[in-house]
Symmetry: C2
Subunit: 233 residues, 2 copies
């Protein structure tokens, strides 16, 4: 009955925080820039939901994530005393989101699931970002579905329903997989099956939310290998 699994990507499949901190630390050494990169990355991610909220609410027209990332970076660099960072470096920092490392279990779990199901992204990232990260991290997606296909950000219904329409099947035949309870709640409200995979280190040592499943999701697993086993893959 289940035909496809769609995955949230940032935090669920890839470890954006460690990847970006390591990348910026290296960049800092190369460029002779000193900063608290971990705090900068955390602050940058902190701007993620508020920036999308302006689009979600209609206060702002459709704006690709790439542009939201750049705007919030510009604001934060000034705040962190890094206003001297030049345009080229800023572009490289935004492109850092295209080259994120997977969690240790992600690739093996996806490979198992791909043998039995269609596997794809359903992310607020853009198609190019997701494609670059898939190639970098060897994520074997069958399809890349994302915000810029629908010009809406999750949890807008158009994203979930649009994905089901493109897969030409009823939402009940699709499992939405995420490390974030809000994403699963939205997917369930549209008839999707749901799979929670805990990523308690996503936000670093001080993570306080999404530490565990907050509803009776259809599947609850500690990693993708466990999820694959639950789905007989």
């Amino acid at each position: 009955m289940i035909q496809a699994l769609l995955f949230d990507v940032f935090g669920t499949v890839v470890d954006w925080r460690s990847s970006l901190i390591a990348r910026f630390e290296q960049m800092g050494r190369d460029q002779g820039l000193s900063a608290d990169w971990a705090t900068l990355v955390d602050d940058w991610r902190g701007e993620y939901q508020p920036a999308m909220n302006k689009v979600r609410s209609g206060q702002r027209e459709w704006t690709p994530l790439e542009q939201l990332h750049r705007e919030s970076l510009d604001m934060l660099l000034s705040k962190h005393g890094l206003g001297q960072v030049n345009t080229q470096l800023r572009e490289e920092m935004v492109r850092g989101w295209h080259f994120l490392h997977p969690w240790p279990d992600s690739v093996a779990g996806l490979r198992r699931l791909k043998q039995k199901y269609i596997i794809g992204t359903l992310s607020n990232g853009g198609l190019r970002l997701l494609t670059d990260t898939a190639k970098f991290a060897h994520l074997p997606w069958d399809v890349v579905l994302c915000s810029d296909l629908f010009r809406h950000y999750k949890p807008d219904p158009k994203v979930y329903l649009g994905a089901a329409r493109l897969l030409d099947t009823d939402p009940k035949n699709i499992v939405m997989v995420a490390a974030h309870n809000y994403d699963l709640a939205a997917a369930r409200s549209h008839g999707f099956k749901t799979g929670f995979v805990a990523r308690p280190a996503e936000y670093g040592p001080r993570q306080e939310s999404d530490l565990s499943a907050e509803a009776d999701w259809d599947y609850v697993a500690n990693d993708f290998e466990e999820l694959a086993a639950q789905l007989n893959a």
Copy 2:
């Protein structure tokens, strides 16, 4: 400079004609149905462009290929004296387009190209059809781009320009690959690089068009391995 290759699929990557004839011959034996399956398949494909033309011209609103296939099949079954074929079998026949075999060089060539470039579809097929065929034929796409993302059929400009927008790059950094000159002419008119791969058996022994490159396309190859070599992949 080249970042991505986008491929036409029917005829360019997969051999729809032989695949469908073999499938229907088997179905005929299983169901005790006798027919000239090759002619039925050729006639069915003959309805492909006229059916899309009604959508392209605006005479008909956006209609997915799945539905166009079903309507033309219904018409042809009556014409071929197969009006007794039931609904379930008709659906199976339409789903035959989801399970097409690749040309002998397709998978090896795509695997080479994928090491160096983003590779994707840019097809008038639907996303589910292309995903099913990719899994069936082991086509290692990075992205599946197609008519139902844009709700237009090639050669509508929205398909080519929409693909470049999603890949977040200038068309000059993308090679459109097809066995059909009209597809490449349209892509070139929007600034894409072009690659012609001859598939002189696509339409069977009596093929008369697209036997060779009809313009100075950027790449002209006899198969995907040759194309990969030309692109240093």
